[in-house]
């Protein structure tokens, strides 16, 4: 699976410590298997947000949040709801661990950029180059760098997440061959990796 590597859209901003109950209230967990329906209720738990947030999203729009985004529960429907609302990627100062893992495992693009999180205002026109890890703000004429993730995580995101990785591993087990998909251990101990990046 190859996804677009350059994304463009308007920015939707959120503060620090937005937890998964705000991203998608638990009562909507009954729609766990319906991404479109989850998308309709994305961000509905944010105080002051009415139920219509996702209707205002144009496909490709970009979410920009503060620190510890997606803290709280392990619900994978949090990134799925945001994706279901049409948001093409999430940029944050930092991500809570399970939201981070879930996004990588889904192959859903997320970027960690304290600069962007601080400078971007709601409605700014953004362009994100996933390959370069660069965020361009056309409204303000700024360019922000995203912190690089360890290679294994970037590879997982690129190949579409954990599903194709597991498929490959299962196929190899069945054919009795040797494991070939990217192995995280081979990426370990890499100098210069972003400490905050891998969770």
């Amino acid at each position: 699976m190859t996804a677009a590597t350059v994304l463009r859209g308007r920015a939707w901003t959120f503060g620090d410590n937005v937890d998964t109950d705000q991203v998608i209230p638990a009562k909507y967990a009954i729609y766990s298997l319906d991404e479109r329906k989850l998308g309709e209720h994305a961000m509905e738990g944010v105080p002051g947000n009415d139920g219509g947030w996702s209707q205002r999203i144009a496909p490709g729009d970009i979410m920009v949040a503060g620190s510890n985004f997606g803290c709280g529960s392990s619900r994978e429907i949090a990134p799925i709801a945001i994706r279901g609302a049409g948001v093409s990627c999430v940029i944050a100062d930092s991500f809570a661990r399970i939201f981070f893992r879930n996004s990588i495992n889904l192959g859903y693009p997320i970027l960690q950029s304290p600069h962007a999180a601080e400078a971007v205002e709601e409605g700014d026109e953004l362009e994100v180059d996933l390959e370069e890890g660069v965020i361009r703000n056309f409204t303000r004429g700024d360019v922000y760098e995203a912190e690089p993730f360890p290679q294994f995580m970037t590879d997982l995101m690129r190949m579409g997440g954990l599903v194709p990785w597991v498929r490959k591993r299962l196929e190899e087990q069945r054919s009795g061959g040797h494991p070939a998909p990217p192995h995280p251990a081979s990426q370990a101990n890499q100098p210069g990796r972003a400490e905050g990046g891998g969770q």
Partner: protein, 427 residues
């Protein structure tokens, strides 16, 4: 260079002599858990997308009906059925039906399924609870769980470890809940983000396993990957007659490297509550005493084990819930409910005018049996009070220990347990 207990478990599970923080490893999982909200997507991903037709080891997976069960509505009934059918089709050994299990994070420890030295994952953020039993336990998503069920392994980034040292003993009425809230209030809801919290020190020696489980349960409220404790005679006494498998305890090396060592004097930690709308918005009880309440909820994987119910019942015995307030007591497992019945605790709650429910996550996540309406104020023994956690985003939730919850139910406002215990019981 020595290793922490977290590092030792990840090294052993990934078949390496040594790991250090930041390493990415592919590790073998000893035990995995999913429930009625996470098994349906995980089972679908595993079978339909990953193409696996069986789980790697049906004896090392638990499936628990707890979040929206007994089914709160038709959609939950469908999730319950998918969960049930998955467990049946896969031949899952540790399947817990409604009425036979309870909340996963109480059931797994009490059945001896999560053991010292093991690597445990659960598709629920509070899976970090198990670490009080000297294992590495962490919460994962549904795709993660699908991967584990298909292969028996998963990728991990070895976390930095924060060491917490608790000197002296906790004071009267101050419990594991107060200590962990105090810690979270000190370091913040992202203070241990993606890191290991290793709890040590004199204070732990005087805490029973239930209180320890409350502490590791809330590691996630500080953003941690896992919370972990050493193995000692309390661990051993708890596991005697329960452990489902042989196990090997781990301890941190004397020269293990910690990112930071944080020391606390347990003796000076006050009864601590978290005010709305975040678990790190903490205050000593004196600051919030007198706050009027609509509901008191004693429940959840954090604070509804038998010791918690005993503490609450001791205060409620012979007293009544305040007019205008509702008390809801939800035991955290079927086994806890049986013990509570045998010890006469249920009658105390009922006589006090409290509602006694079946074991379920229930009101904790705003599911059922105690969802809050707009502007309502609740004191809860649970773990999270972010906006909307227990219902309406404008509801206000205070987190506290079970004795404070019981005392506050009697007066209708946040109350120090001592104030209720000192007052004479009406005849």
């Amino acid at each position: 260079m020595g290793m922490t207990m977290t590092e030792k478990i990840l090294a052993r599970a990934s078949d390496r002599d040594q790991v250090r923080p930041g390493d990415l490893v592919l590790a073998k999982v000893d035990f995995a858990m999913g429930h009625d909200l996470t098994i349906p997507p995980a089972g679908k991903i595993m079978r339909e997308q990953m193409g696996a037709d069986q789980v790697w080891d049906p004896e090392r997976v638990a499936v628990v009906q707890d979040h929206f069960q007994p089914a709160k509505d038709i959609a939950s009934a469908a999730l319950g059925r998918m969960t049930r059918e998955f467990a049946r089709d896969m031949g899952i050994k540790w399947y817990f039906e409604v009425g036979q299990g309870g909340i996963c994070h109480t059931v797994l420890p009490e059945r001896g399924l999560v053991l010292p030295g093991e690597l445990v994952v659960g598709a629920d953020s509070h899976s970090c609870t198990y670490g009080a039993l000297n294992n590495f336990a962490t919460g994962i998503g549904s795709t993660d769980l699908a991967c584990v069920m298909a292969l028996g392994e998963l990728w991990f980034r070895v976390p930095e470890t924060l060491k917490f040292v608790y000197h002296n003993r906790l004071g009267d009425w101050v419990e594991g809940k107060d200590l962990i809230l105090h810690v979270i209030g000190t370091i913040g809801v992202d203070g241990a983000r993606s890191k290991a919290m290793e709890h040590t020190g004199e204070a732990l020696k005087h805490m029973d396993m239930e209180a320890r489980l409350t502490m590791t349960n809330m590691a996630i409220e500080a953003g941690a990957k896992n919370g972990i404790m050493g193995h000692d005679e309390v661990t051993e006494a708890y596991l005697r007659g329960r452990a489902a498998r042989p196990y090997s305890p781990v301890s941190s090396d004397p020269d293990a490297a910690y990112e930071q060592v944080l020391e606390f004097d347990a003796e000076t930690v006050p009864i601590t509550l978290a005010k709305p709308m975040s678990p790190d918005n903490t205050a000593p009880i004196g600051e919030v005493a007198g706050t009027r309440l609509d509901q008191v909820f004693i429940g959840s994987c954090t604070n509804s084990r038998i010791t918690d119910l005993r503490k609450a019942a001791r205060i409620l015995d012979g007293r009544r819930v305040a007019p205008g307030l509702r008390l809801i007591v939800t035991p955290s497992s079927h086994e806890v409910a049986r013990l509570a019945e045998r010890e006469g605790l249920i009658r105390i709650f009922l006589d006090a005018g409290g509602a006694w429910t079946t074991a379920t996550c229930g009101a904790c996540l705003g599911g059922h049996q105690g969802v809050l309406g707009e502007g309502e104020v609740c004191l809860s023994t649970t773990n999270r009070n972010f906006p909307g956690r227990m219902g309406d985003p404008k509801a206000l939730v205070y987190l506290a220990n079970p004795a404070v919850a019981a005392a506050s139910a009697v007066t209708g406002e946040i109350t120090h347990p001592e104030d209720v215990v000192r007052a004479p019981v009406a005849v």
